[in-house]
Symmetry: C2
């Protein structure tokens, strides 16, 4: 997409904001309404988990609108959630725990890094909440990974932030209130994708997960676990950069590994949303379609001005 | 798509109009401008072929706008093209030769049949041109196929229409002027799709074409020819209903037949436009993606109001 084209399309950023409340519906509603009340923001999904005691609010809009929506969500969560009384299975360090900005249309990753830093500065200064920048927006290599920042959770960070200079936040005070700290950043679109195998042997799913995931030597932008779901072995994955590690390459790698154990791919499933480009890329690859331009898709052609 | 959803989207009809002039640029421009000058009509493509002496103007818009655009194109062609002085390789019976309406969004095939008949009546009455309704809009089974209507071309029809009751038009006079007759109808979106083989032996492409095409016992909505293109054997196809005979089924059938001759699919190519649904269907099929809803595509979700 050249810059001329980019200027003509409406810019869209996605924010997948994670809040440490999954049980009290009025609190969940207040956060979602604070976000959705910002003009030009559209809330796509609000997903709460009682066991995790956590809610994910996914919303989109223009760059400025999404930053404002995120700020309003963080401010509301800070008012209504007290981490000293929060329990849940999922690790967390803040009322508003993780707030990644995702480039969707007409904006670059670099644009989202700038937006994440603007948001972080505002949260630190106006809400007096410590902010750590992560992933593409990270200011230090040891803060790229969310797990490293969240180490020790709220309870551990509360002590360490006072004494350990490595835990000094990027913005805001070096002390935790009841709203904890917030991790803000920029990252590519994340696809949640699961592949079911024709076996009940979860051990095969675990071995395949190990073979395809980055952490144990596999494909760079794949996180994977082997699970038993509805009586079938499942390779459960997050695809963290579908442009560099495309869906079809992951599926075909799993298919090959499965054959090694004498089983097949039964079916796959997509959790939540997928960018159109990821599916068009898969179609092109399997159909061996060369010289294809996205403007050959009738609906994309019709969207041009 | 339910009717509620359908009411919310802007209705779009496509018209792939064929005119018997591919050499005189001022005539081609006059026709394209007459069509494109109608408010709410958007001309997507104007493709002329000098050998065929024929131009295809592809345009889209709301149902009424597209009917008006088609009428203006037919009227302009009738003024500027004299079939008594037209020569070209491609069979034809009229200045405006074939005018199919294609449902693209928010309209059904039945809607397009009604539109085709309205257009046909107007062309017959106001322009005094004989009109034959074809494909889904046909009033008789022997007029579904374009080739049957076009038998004998302009020169043959000029005689037969005067004497043969089977050749009486659906609208307009039972005599041909210099503008000839026009075939109007409704049909599904047509995908022009070619598959190259890893061989120079055109005979293999011809055998495969025979095996996959409807006319010789193959798949119902496939027309296919074996050709030699750029030194490679090519199976050249029109896929006339991608919902009932999907692209991936055709490609996999060709792949299997090719293996029989010890060759492979080298690559495929798409000529012109393809509906998004056709590529999403292929991606789902190859990825074995079950339980998928088109609203899971981020861009489709964002288009919803």
């Amino acid at each position: 997409m050249n810059s001329d084209r980019r200027n003509r399309v409406k810019k869209i950023v996605e924010c997948v904001s994670n809040f440490s409340e999954g049980r009290r519906q009025p609190v969940i509603d207040a956060i979602a309404n604070a976000i959705g009340g910002v003009p030009d923001v559209r809330v796509l999904d609000v997903q709460s988990d009682g066991d995790h005691n956590r809610t994910v609010v996914t919303f989109v809009g223009g760059p400025e609108a999404v930053v404002e929506g995120a700020f309003q969500g963080i401010a509301t969560a800070a008012q209504l959630i007290d981490l000293d009384h929060h329990r849940g299975e999922h690790p967390r360090i803040g009322a508003a725990d993780v707030v990644p900005l995702v480039p969707v249309r007409g904006v670059t990753m670099e644009d989202c890094v700038v937006l994440a830093r603007q948001l972080g500065q505002r949260v630190g200064e106006e809400l007096d909440i410590p902010v750590y920048l992560y992933e593409e927006a990270a200011t230090r290599p040891d803060r790229r990974n969310l797990a490293d920042i969240r180490r020790g959770e709220y309870e551990g960070l509360k002590e360490e932030i006072l004494t350990d200079p490595d835990r000094e936040p990027d913005f805001g005070p070096a002390r935790l209130g009841a709203a904890g700290a917030t991790v803000i950043g920029a990252r590519p679109f994340l696809i949640a994708y699961n592949v079911f195998l024709t076996t009940e042997d979860v051990d095969i799913a675990r071995r395949i997960a190990r073979s395809v995931r980055h952490s144990s030597g596999g494909l760079r932008y794949v996180k994977a676990l082997g699970l038993l779901v509805k009586g079938k072995a499942q390779v459960s994955m997050n695809l963290t950069d579908f442009r560099l590690t495309p869906v079809h390459r992951v599926v075909e790698a799993i298919r090959r590994e499965a054959a090694r154990y004498g089983v097949s791919v039964e079916r796959s499933e997509l959790i939540g949303l997928i960018p159109q480009e990821a599916l068009l890329d898969a179609a092109q690859w399997y159909l061996q379609l060369d010289g294809f331009a996205s403007e050959q898709v009738l609906e994309i052609k019709l969207q041009e001005t």
